[in-house]
């Protein structure tokens, strides 16, 4: 891959997040972390756009914007 990897934009709606840890635990690349009571992005470079966090978030708080 000579092209530079296109990074997604992970949108976290903090107002909706209840801090259940599901996204943090089930991310295969450990992209997310808990910052206080809400999830936040720790390492966007590692994201493989698998969408697991968006799929599993029970609170509609995560959107992964990727092409």
């Amino acid at each position: 891959m000579s092209e530079e990897k296109k990074l997604p934009r992970i949108e976290i709606i903090e107002k909706y997040c209840k801090g259940c840890h599901i996204c943090v635990e089930f991310c295969p690349k450990k992209v997310l972390e808990m910052k206080g009571f809400v999830a936040s992005v720790k390492d966007l470079d590692a994201c493989i756009k698998c969408m697991q966090c968006e799929l599993r978030c029970p609170d509609f708080a995560i959107k992964v914007h990727a092409e």
Binding site: E11, K15, Y16, K18, G19, C20, H21, I22, E25, F26, E54, L55, R56, C57, P58, D59, F60, A61, K63, V64, H65, A66, E67
Partner: protein, 272 residues
Amino acid sequence: MAFDYDKYIRPGKLPHIWCPGCGHGIIMKGLIRAMDTLNLKKEETAIVSGIGCASRLPGYIDCCTLHTAHGRAAAFATGVKMARPEMNVILVGGDGDGTAIGGNHFIHACRRNINMTYIIMNNNIYGMTGGQFSPCTPTGAKASTTPYGNPDPAFDVAKLAIGAGATFVARGTAYHANQIDKLITEAIQHKGFSVVEILDDCPTTYGRRNKFKSVIEMMNRLKDVAVPVKAAEKMSAEQLEGKILTGVLHKVERPEYTEEYAKVIERAGGKK
């Protein structure tokens, strides 16, 4: 691209009332994806529920919705379907609402084979009212009303539905999130009464009393106990001990109730 759930959600309704880590939100997302896959029109879709945590779901989805008396979702939904057979009728509810208070309505809706889809979110407990044991609470498990362990054996919702005559029965879990929409899609497409039982977690009233340290532990339990039906065919009885089968468990064809009832009206000389 991110899935646009917002177009199916009533504006200003989020965040929902469910506790942190409750799987009901995951199931609601699955239902929304299934509605999107099937391109169901909002005005031609009715979501009916009874009372309970799971039954709060219709309040969030922007389509025709009906929030009814405890356990009576199947009764009200039958009325909707009989009056407007062209509507897509989806029932949602919990295990207590569906199999205890609404157990009677549930088995008779199965028996009639009326073309509706019932999504039962089985979290093994009455969550909203304070963690009383439900017919789906496993033997030995603790609830607020069984502090020394539940002596009752639990219902197998899928087997109950098959026994009562439902023509499509499937089971999924809140852990297997990408399977939920596929099961619901297939259930809605099926002509006849379809039941989708989705095993769920209740960290607040079930998990804390039953030594689950976290939501993640409860989710991992769902992952561990679930065995797809195809994989189960190659497994021995000992290997299947304590496991729960997931996937499409039962699918048969049988005359559908609204069509049969239309024939009755015709025979009686009424208008078609």
